[in-house]
Amino acid sequence: MKTTTLTLAFLEPDAQSLVDRLRRQERSALAEAYDLYHGSVRALATRVVGDEALAEDLLQEVFVALPQAIHRFEGRAQLKTFLLSMVLNHAKHYVRAAARRRAMASRFGREPRAVSLDGESEASRSEIARLLERALDELPLEQRAAFVLLELEERTSVEAAEIVGIPEATMRTRLFHAKRKLRERLEEWGMR
Protein backbone atom coordinates (compact mmCIF):
# COMPACT_ATOMS: atom_id res chain seq x y z
CA MET A 1 0.00 0.00 0.00
CA LYS A 2 2.86 2.29 0.85
CA THR A 3 4.58 1.51 -2.45
CA THR A 4 1.39 2.20 -4.37
CA THR A 5 0.93 5.55 -2.70
CA LEU A 6 4.52 6.56 -3.32
CA THR A 7 4.35 5.54 -6.97
CA LEU A 8 1.05 7.28 -7.47
CA ALA A 9 2.69 10.47 -6.29
CA PHE A 10 4.64 10.54 -9.55
CA LEU A 11 1.45 10.63 -11.56
CA GLU A 12 -0.10 13.89 -12.49
CA PRO A 13 -2.29 15.20 -9.66
CA ASP A 14 -5.43 15.01 -11.79
CA ALA A 15 -4.73 11.43 -12.85
CA GLN A 16 -4.12 10.41 -9.26
CA SER A 17 -7.33 12.07 -8.21
CA LEU A 18 -9.19 10.22 -10.97
CA VAL A 19 -7.76 6.89 -9.83
CA ASP A 20 -8.77 7.63 -6.26
CA ARG A 21 -12.30 8.49 -7.35
CA LEU A 22 -12.51 5.36 -9.47
CA ARG A 23 -11.48 3.34 -6.43
CA ARG A 24 -14.31 4.97 -4.53
CA GLN A 25 -16.62 3.77 -7.34
CA GLU A 26 -17.66 7.31 -8.22
CA ARG A 27 -19.88 7.35 -11.29
CA SER A 28 -18.52 10.70 -12.43
CA ALA A 29 -14.99 9.28 -12.36
CA LEU A 30 -15.93 6.53 -14.79
CA ALA A 31 -17.54 9.07 -17.09
CA GLU A 32 -14.41 11.19 -16.93
CA ALA A 33 -12.17 8.19 -17.66
CA TYR A 34 -14.30 7.40 -20.68
CA ASP A 35 -14.15 10.95 -21.95
CA LEU A 36 -10.38 11.01 -21.56
CA TYR A 37 -9.44 7.64 -22.96
CA HIS A 38 -12.22 6.21 -25.10
CA GLY A 39 -10.43 7.27 -28.30
CA SER A 40 -7.28 5.30 -27.55
CA VAL A 41 -9.23 2.36 -26.19
CA ARG A 42 -11.56 2.23 -29.19
CA ALA A 43 -8.66 2.50 -31.65
CA LEU A 44 -6.75 -0.36 -30.08
CA ALA A 45 -9.88 -2.48 -29.76
CA THR A 46 -10.68 -1.96 -33.42
CA ARG A 47 -7.16 -2.79 -34.54
CA VAL A 48 -6.86 -5.87 -32.38
CA VAL A 49 -10.28 -7.29 -33.12
CA GLY A 50 -10.64 -6.07 -36.70
CA ASP A 51 -14.40 -5.76 -36.41
CA GLU A 52 -16.14 -2.52 -35.59
CA ALA A 53 -19.16 -3.95 -33.82
CA LEU A 54 -17.17 -6.36 -31.72
CA ALA A 55 -14.63 -3.67 -30.94
CA GLU A 56 -17.46 -1.52 -29.62
CA ASP A 57 -18.53 -4.38 -27.35
CA LEU A 58 -14.95 -4.80 -26.16
CA LEU A 59 -14.72 -1.09 -25.40
CA GLN A 60 -17.86 -1.31 -23.30
CA GLU A 61 -16.62 -4.40 -21.45
CA VAL A 62 -13.34 -2.70 -20.58
CA PHE A 63 -14.94 0.42 -19.12
CA VAL A 64 -17.60 -1.52 -17.27
CA ALA A 65 -14.86 -3.65 -15.70
CA LEU A 66 -12.72 -0.64 -14.81
CA PRO A 67 -14.27 0.19 -11.38
CA GLN A 68 -13.40 -3.30 -10.16
CA ALA A 69 -10.11 -3.64 -12.05
CA ILE A 70 -8.81 -0.32 -10.73
CA HIS A 71 -8.04 -2.00 -7.40
CA ARG A 72 -5.29 -3.91 -9.21
CA PHE A 73 -3.83 -0.70 -10.62
CA GLU A 74 -0.58 -0.10 -8.79
CA GLY A 75 0.23 3.23 -10.33
CA ARG A 76 3.47 2.14 -11.93
CA ALA A 77 2.09 3.06 -15.35
CA GLN A 78 -0.40 5.60 -16.56
CA LEU A 79 -4.09 4.92 -16.33
CA LYS A 80 -4.27 4.99 -20.11
CA THR A 81 -1.67 2.22 -20.33
CA PHE A 82 -3.63 0.25 -17.77
CA LEU A 83 -6.79 0.60 -19.88
CA LEU A 84 -4.98 -0.50 -23.03
CA SER A 85 -3.64 -3.56 -21.22
CA MET A 86 -7.22 -4.31 -20.20
CA VAL A 87 -8.21 -4.20 -23.87
CA LEU A 88 -5.65 -6.88 -24.68
CA ASN A 89 -6.61 -8.96 -21.65
CA HIS A 90 -10.29 -8.90 -22.60
CA ALA A 91 -9.72 -9.25 -26.35
CA LYS A 92 -9.31 -12.99 -26.72
CA HIS A 93 -12.99 -13.85 -27.01
CA TYR A 94 -13.67 -10.97 -29.37
CA VAL A 95 -10.72 -11.74 -31.64
CA ARG A 96 -11.86 -15.33 -31.90
CA ALA A 97 -15.42 -14.30 -32.73
CA ALA A 98 -14.23 -11.82 -35.34
CA ALA A 99 -11.90 -14.38 -36.92
CA ARG A 100 -14.77 -16.87 -37.18
CA ARG A 101 -16.88 -14.22 -38.83
CA ARG A 102 -14.15 -13.38 -41.33
CA ALA A 103 -13.49 -17.04 -42.08
CA MET A 104 -17.16 -17.62 -42.71
CA ALA A 105 -17.34 -14.57 -44.97
CA SER A 106 -14.42 -15.94 -46.94
CA ARG A 107 -15.94 -19.38 -47.31
CA PHE A 108 -19.24 -18.08 -48.55
CA GLY A 109 -17.90 -15.10 -50.39
CA ARG A 110 -14.56 -14.21 -51.78
CA GLU A 111 -11.55 -16.47 -51.52
CA PRO A 112 -8.07 -15.05 -51.21
CA ARG A 113 -6.73 -14.52 -54.66
CA ALA A 114 -3.71 -13.01 -56.30
CA VAL A 115 -3.64 -9.26 -55.96
CA SER A 116 -2.20 -6.96 -58.54
CA LEU A 117 0.97 -5.25 -57.57
CA ASP A 118 -0.17 -1.77 -58.40
CA GLY A 119 -1.99 -1.56 -55.04
CA GLU A 120 -2.99 1.98 -55.69
CA SER A 121 -6.67 1.58 -56.45
CA GLU A 122 -9.21 1.58 -53.63
CA ALA A 123 -10.32 -1.95 -54.50
CA SER A 124 -6.77 -3.15 -54.43
CA ARG A 125 -6.03 -1.58 -51.03
CA SER A 126 -9.18 -3.02 -49.60
CA GLU A 127 -8.32 -6.48 -50.85
CA ILE A 128 -4.78 -6.23 -49.49
CA ALA A 129 -6.11 -5.15 -46.09
CA ARG A 130 -8.54 -8.04 -46.06
CA LEU A 131 -5.75 -10.51 -46.81
CA LEU A 132 -3.66 -9.16 -43.96
CA GLU A 133 -6.62 -9.43 -41.61
CA ARG A 134 -7.00 -13.08 -42.50
CA ALA A 135 -3.31 -13.66 -42.06
CA LEU A 136 -3.44 -11.98 -38.67
CA ASP A 137 -6.27 -14.32 -37.67
CA GLU A 138 -3.83 -17.19 -37.98
CA LEU A 139 -1.39 -15.71 -35.48
CA PRO A 140 -1.39 -16.41 -31.76
CA LEU A 141 -2.95 -13.53 -29.84
CA GLU A 142 0.34 -12.37 -28.33
CA GLN A 143 1.98 -12.10 -31.78
CA ARG A 144 -1.10 -10.40 -33.12
CA ALA A 145 -0.95 -7.89 -30.26
CA ALA A 146 2.73 -7.25 -30.93
CA PHE A 147 2.03 -6.53 -34.61
CA VAL A 148 -0.93 -4.30 -33.81
CA LEU A 149 0.90 -2.26 -31.16
CA LEU A 150 4.17 -1.87 -33.03
CA GLU A 151 3.14 -1.77 -36.66
CA LEU A 152 -0.45 -0.57 -36.81
CA GLU A 153 -0.33 1.75 -33.80
CA GLU A 154 3.34 2.57 -34.39
CA ARG A 155 4.22 2.49 -30.72
CA THR A 156 7.75 2.08 -29.50
CA SER A 157 8.75 -1.33 -28.24
CA VAL A 158 9.07 0.18 -24.75
CA GLU A 159 5.48 1.40 -24.79
CA ALA A 160 4.18 -1.84 -26.23
CA ALA A 161 6.08 -3.91 -23.68
CA GLU A 162 4.66 -1.77 -20.89
CA ILE A 163 1.11 -2.26 -22.14
CA VAL A 164 1.48 -6.01 -22.48
CA GLY A 165 3.56 -6.27 -19.32
CA ILE A 166 6.50 -8.15 -20.81
CA PRO A 167 10.20 -7.34 -21.41
CA GLU A 168 10.94 -5.19 -24.40
CA ALA A 169 13.11 -7.87 -25.99
CA THR A 170 10.28 -10.35 -25.79
CA MET A 171 8.04 -7.87 -27.54
CA ARG A 172 10.52 -7.46 -30.37
CA THR A 173 10.86 -11.22 -30.69
CA ARG A 174 7.11 -11.60 -30.94
CA LEU A 175 6.99 -8.97 -33.67
CA PHE A 176 9.76 -10.72 -35.58
CA HIS A 177 7.88 -14.04 -35.61
CA ALA A 178 4.60 -12.33 -36.42
CA LYS A 179 6.03 -10.55 -39.45
CA ARG A 180 7.75 -13.66 -40.73
CA LYS A 181 4.52 -15.64 -40.61
CA LEU A 182 2.50 -12.84 -42.15
CA ARG A 183 4.93 -12.48 -45.06
CA GLU A 184 4.86 -16.19 -45.71
CA ARG A 185 1.10 -16.22 -45.72
CA LEU A 186 0.74 -13.19 -47.98
CA GLU A 187 3.18 -14.68 -50.47
CA GLU A 188 1.27 -17.93 -50.42
CA TRP A 189 -1.82 -16.00 -51.35
CA GLY A 190 -0.12 -14.44 -54.32
CA MET A 191 1.11 -11.09 -53.00
CA ARG A 192 4.42 -10.20 -54.45
Binding site: A31, Y34, Q60, V64, I128, K179, M191, R192
Partner: protein, 242 residues
Amino acid sequence: MSDPLLRATKALKGKYDDAAKVSPAREEAARERILEATNVGVRHRRASRMVLLPIAAAFALLATWAAATGALNRVFSVEPTTSGVETVPLPGPGLAPPGSVSTAAPPAPSSAPSAVPTVDEPPPVQSAPPPAQTTSRPSSTASAAATASAEEERLYAEAHRAHFETREYPRALAAWDAYLARYPSGRLAPEARYNRALCLVRLGRRAEAQAALEAFARGDYGTYRRAESTRLLDALSGDAAP
Protein backbone atom coordinates in the same frame (compact mmCIF):
# COMPACT_ATOMS: atom_id res chain seq x y z
CA MET B 1 7.33 -0.05 -51.85
CA SER B 2 8.15 -3.62 -52.73
CA ASP B 3 7.53 -5.37 -49.40
CA PRO B 4 4.01 -6.85 -49.61
CA LEU B 5 3.70 -6.81 -45.83
CA LEU B 6 4.48 -3.11 -45.71
CA ARG B 7 1.87 -2.39 -48.32
CA ALA B 8 -0.69 -4.53 -46.57
CA THR B 9 0.08 -2.90 -43.24
CA LYS B 10 -0.42 0.54 -44.69
CA ALA B 11 -3.70 -0.50 -46.25
CA LEU B 12 -4.97 -2.06 -43.03
CA LYS B 13 -3.92 0.96 -41.01
CA GLY B 14 -5.92 3.19 -43.27
CA LYS B 15 -8.93 0.94 -42.93
CA TYR B 16 -8.78 0.85 -39.14
CA ASP B 17 -8.13 4.57 -38.84
CA ASP B 18 -11.36 5.15 -40.69
CA ALA B 19 -13.18 2.59 -38.56
CA ALA B 20 -11.99 4.15 -35.32
CA LYS B 21 -13.46 7.51 -36.29
CA VAL B 22 -16.92 7.35 -34.83
CA SER B 23 -19.57 10.02 -34.67
CA PRO B 24 -20.05 11.99 -31.43
CA ALA B 25 -23.53 10.48 -31.17
CA ARG B 26 -22.08 7.00 -31.18
CA GLU B 27 -19.47 7.97 -28.61
CA GLU B 28 -22.22 9.38 -26.40
CA ALA B 29 -24.37 6.27 -26.80
CA ALA B 30 -21.47 4.05 -25.78
CA ARG B 31 -20.82 6.30 -22.78
CA GLU B 32 -24.42 5.99 -21.64
CA ARG B 33 -24.42 2.22 -22.07
CA ILE B 34 -21.29 1.92 -19.96
CA LEU B 35 -22.61 4.09 -17.16
CA GLU B 36 -25.94 2.27 -17.19
CA ALA B 37 -24.24 -1.13 -17.14
CA THR B 38 -22.14 -0.03 -14.18
CA ASN B 39 -25.25 1.05 -12.32
CA VAL B 40 -26.93 -2.26 -13.05
CA GLY B 41 -23.86 -4.03 -11.75
CA VAL B 42 -23.96 -2.00 -8.55
CA ARG B 43 -27.68 -2.70 -8.13
CA HIS B 44 -27.08 -6.43 -8.67
CA ARG B 45 -24.32 -6.46 -6.08
CA ARG B 46 -26.50 -4.61 -3.60
CA ALA B 47 -29.41 -6.95 -4.26
CA SER B 48 -27.15 -9.95 -3.81
CA ARG B 49 -25.91 -8.59 -0.50
CA MET B 50 -29.48 -7.98 0.66
CA VAL B 51 -30.40 -11.59 -0.07
CA LEU B 52 -27.23 -13.38 0.87
CA LEU B 53 -26.40 -11.58 4.10
CA PRO B 54 -29.65 -12.50 5.90
CA ILE B 55 -29.26 -16.11 4.74
CA ALA B 56 -25.69 -16.23 6.02
CA ALA B 57 -26.73 -14.65 9.33
CA ALA B 58 -29.57 -17.14 9.76
CA PHE B 59 -27.23 -20.02 9.02
CA ALA B 60 -24.68 -18.74 11.54
CA LEU B 61 -27.38 -18.38 14.21
CA LEU B 62 -28.67 -21.87 13.49
CA ALA B 63 -25.18 -23.34 13.71
CA THR B 64 -24.54 -21.53 17.00
CA TRP B 65 -27.82 -22.76 18.44
CA ALA B 66 -27.13 -26.32 17.29
CA ALA B 67 -23.64 -26.26 18.78
CA ALA B 68 -24.91 -24.82 22.08
CA THR B 69 -27.74 -27.30 22.46
CA GLY B 70 -25.73 -30.31 21.36
CA ALA B 71 -27.88 -30.92 18.31
CA LEU B 72 -24.82 -30.61 16.14
CA ASN B 73 -23.07 -33.36 18.11
CA ARG B 74 -26.06 -35.65 17.79
CA VAL B 75 -26.06 -35.18 14.04
CA PHE B 76 -22.35 -35.67 13.54
CA SER B 77 -21.46 -38.06 16.37
CA VAL B 78 -20.21 -41.55 15.55
CA GLU B 79 -21.02 -44.49 17.77
CA PRO B 80 -18.00 -46.40 19.03
CA THR B 81 -17.57 -49.54 17.02
CA THR B 82 -15.16 -51.49 19.18
CA SER B 83 -15.92 -53.48 22.27
CA GLY B 84 -13.22 -51.61 24.12
CA VAL B 85 -13.48 -49.93 27.43
CA GLU B 86 -15.33 -46.94 26.12
CA THR B 87 -18.38 -48.94 25.11
CA VAL B 88 -18.89 -50.44 28.55
CA PRO B 89 -22.17 -49.38 30.17
CA LEU B 90 -22.06 -47.34 33.30
CA PRO B 91 -22.06 -49.37 36.47
CA GLY B 92 -24.87 -49.48 38.93
CA PRO B 93 -24.50 -49.19 42.68
CA GLY B 94 -22.44 -51.71 44.52
CA LEU B 95 -18.85 -52.76 44.13
CA ALA B 96 -17.59 -49.79 42.27
CA PRO B 97 -14.82 -50.45 39.82
CA PRO B 98 -12.81 -47.66 38.40
CA GLY B 99 -14.47 -45.57 35.81
CA SER B 100 -17.93 -45.82 37.24
CA VAL B 101 -18.53 -42.41 35.82
CA SER B 102 -15.74 -42.00 33.36
CA THR B 103 -16.31 -43.65 30.02
CA ALA B 104 -12.87 -45.19 29.94
CA ALA B 105 -13.29 -47.45 32.93
CA PRO B 106 -15.29 -50.64 33.37
CA PRO B 107 -18.50 -50.76 35.40
CA ALA B 108 -19.38 -52.83 38.40
CA PRO B 109 -22.26 -55.28 38.56
CA SER B 110 -25.31 -53.99 40.35
CA SER B 111 -25.55 -57.16 42.40
CA ALA B 112 -21.91 -57.19 43.29
CA PRO B 113 -22.28 -57.34 47.08
CA SER B 114 -24.24 -60.56 46.96
CA ALA B 115 -21.63 -62.09 44.70
CA VAL B 116 -18.85 -61.82 47.25
CA PRO B 117 -18.00 -65.45 47.75
CA THR B 118 -16.49 -65.82 51.11
CA VAL B 119 -15.43 -63.36 53.72
CA ASP B 120 -17.18 -60.32 54.99
CA GLU B 121 -18.98 -58.28 52.51
CA PRO B 122 -17.04 -55.05 52.25
CA PRO B 123 -19.36 -52.41 53.68
CA PRO B 124 -17.85 -49.38 52.01
CA VAL B 125 -18.59 -50.62 48.55
CA GLN B 126 -22.30 -50.59 49.35
CA SER B 127 -22.27 -46.89 48.86
CA ALA B 128 -21.11 -45.82 45.50
CA PRO B 129 -18.43 -43.18 45.52
CA PRO B 130 -19.58 -39.67 44.87
CA PRO B 131 -19.44 -38.63 41.26
CA ALA B 132 -17.19 -35.69 42.03
CA GLN B 133 -14.56 -38.08 43.24
CA THR B 134 -14.91 -40.53 40.43
CA THR B 135 -14.46 -37.83 37.84
CA SER B 136 -11.16 -36.82 39.35
CA ARG B 137 -9.46 -39.60 37.48
CA PRO B 138 -6.66 -38.37 35.28
CA SER B 139 -8.16 -37.38 31.97
CA SER B 140 -5.11 -38.54 30.10
CA THR B 141 -6.04 -42.09 30.96
CA ALA B 142 -9.38 -41.77 29.26
CA SER B 143 -7.93 -40.36 26.11
CA ALA B 144 -5.15 -42.93 26.17
CA ALA B 145 -7.65 -45.73 26.46
CA ALA B 146 -9.26 -44.65 23.25
CA THR B 147 -6.04 -45.23 21.41
CA ALA B 148 -4.90 -48.36 23.22
CA SER B 149 -3.57 -51.03 21.01
CA ALA B 150 -5.94 -53.76 19.92
CA GLU B 151 -4.08 -56.39 21.91
CA GLU B 152 -4.11 -54.32 25.07
CA GLU B 153 -7.81 -53.70 24.63
CA ARG B 154 -8.44 -57.36 24.04
CA LEU B 155 -6.70 -58.40 27.26
CA TYR B 156 -8.46 -55.71 29.24
CA ALA B 157 -11.85 -56.62 27.78
CA GLU B 158 -11.32 -60.28 28.62
CA ALA B 159 -10.60 -59.46 32.27
CA HIS B 160 -13.45 -57.02 32.39
CA ARG B 161 -15.89 -59.60 31.04
CA ALA B 162 -14.86 -62.18 33.63
CA HIS B 163 -15.03 -59.61 36.41
CA PHE B 164 -18.20 -57.68 35.66
CA GLU B 165 -20.23 -59.87 33.32
CA THR B 166 -19.67 -63.50 34.28
CA ARG B 167 -18.36 -62.58 37.70
CA GLU B 168 -15.83 -65.36 37.69
CA TYR B 169 -13.50 -63.66 40.15
CA PRO B 170 -10.69 -66.23 40.15
CA ARG B 171 -10.63 -66.07 36.37
CA ALA B 172 -10.94 -62.32 36.44
CA LEU B 173 -8.01 -62.03 38.84
CA ALA B 174 -5.89 -64.17 36.56
CA ALA B 175 -6.94 -62.05 33.61
CA TRP B 176 -6.08 -58.78 35.41
CA ASP B 177 -2.72 -60.27 36.32
CA ALA B 178 -2.19 -61.30 32.72
CA TYR B 179 -2.98 -57.82 31.53
CA LEU B 180 -0.68 -56.20 34.08
CA ALA B 181 2.11 -58.65 33.35
CA ARG B 182 1.92 -57.75 29.69
CA TYR B 183 1.28 -54.05 30.12
CA PRO B 184 2.62 -53.00 33.53
CA SER B 185 2.66 -49.42 32.37
CA GLY B 186 -0.27 -49.87 30.03
CA ARG B 187 -2.72 -47.16 29.34
CA LEU B 188 -5.34 -48.89 31.44
CA ALA B 189 -2.95 -50.14 34.11
CA PRO B 190 -4.40 -48.00 36.98
CA GLU B 191 -7.90 -49.30 36.25
CA ALA B 192 -6.62 -52.86 36.01
CA ARG B 193 -4.80 -52.56 39.37
CA TYR B 194 -7.86 -51.18 41.09
CA ASN B 195 -10.09 -53.90 39.59
CA ARG B 196 -7.56 -56.50 40.63
CA ALA B 197 -7.76 -55.19 44.19
CA LEU B 198 -11.54 -55.53 44.05
CA CYS B 199 -11.19 -59.10 42.88
CA LEU B 200 -8.96 -59.81 45.86
CA VAL B 201 -11.63 -58.36 48.13
CA ARG B 202 -14.24 -60.57 46.47
CA LEU B 203 -12.05 -63.60 46.86
CA GLY B 204 -11.41 -62.82 50.52
CA ARG B 205 -7.72 -62.30 50.06
CA ARG B 206 -7.81 -59.43 52.47
CA ALA B 207 -4.11 -58.82 53.04
CA GLU B 208 -3.37 -58.74 49.36
CA ALA B 209 -6.40 -56.53 48.79
CA GLN B 210 -5.29 -54.11 51.48
CA ALA B 211 -1.80 -53.98 50.06
CA ALA B 212 -3.19 -53.28 46.62
CA LEU B 213 -5.63 -50.63 47.82
CA GLU B 214 -3.09 -48.81 49.95
CA ALA B 215 -1.29 -47.59 46.87
CA PHE B 216 -4.46 -45.84 45.75
CA ALA B 217 -5.25 -44.54 49.23
CA ARG B 218 -1.72 -43.09 49.46
CA GLY B 219 -2.29 -41.21 46.28
CA ASP B 220 0.19 -43.12 44.13
CA TYR B 221 -2.33 -42.65 41.33
CA GLY B 222 -3.26 -39.11 42.22
CA THR B 223 -6.84 -38.69 43.24
CA TYR B 224 -7.93 -41.61 41.14
CA ARG B 225 -10.00 -43.96 43.35
CA ARG B 226 -8.26 -42.53 46.39
CA ALA B 227 -11.45 -41.91 48.38
CA GLU B 228 -12.97 -45.28 47.48
CA SER B 229 -9.79 -47.10 48.39
CA THR B 230 -9.62 -45.33 51.75
CA ARG B 231 -13.19 -46.31 52.54
CA LEU B 232 -12.56 -49.89 51.44
CA LEU B 233 -9.49 -50.10 53.60
CA ASP B 234 -11.43 -48.75 56.56
CA ALA B 235 -14.15 -51.29 55.96
CA LEU B 236 -11.66 -54.14 55.63
CA SER B 237 -9.96 -53.02 58.83
CA GLY B 238 -13.29 -52.83 60.62
CA ASP B 239 -14.26 -56.27 59.43
CA ALA B 240 -10.93 -57.58 60.57
CA ALA B 241 -11.34 -56.07 64.00
CA PRO B 242 -12.87 -58.35 66.62
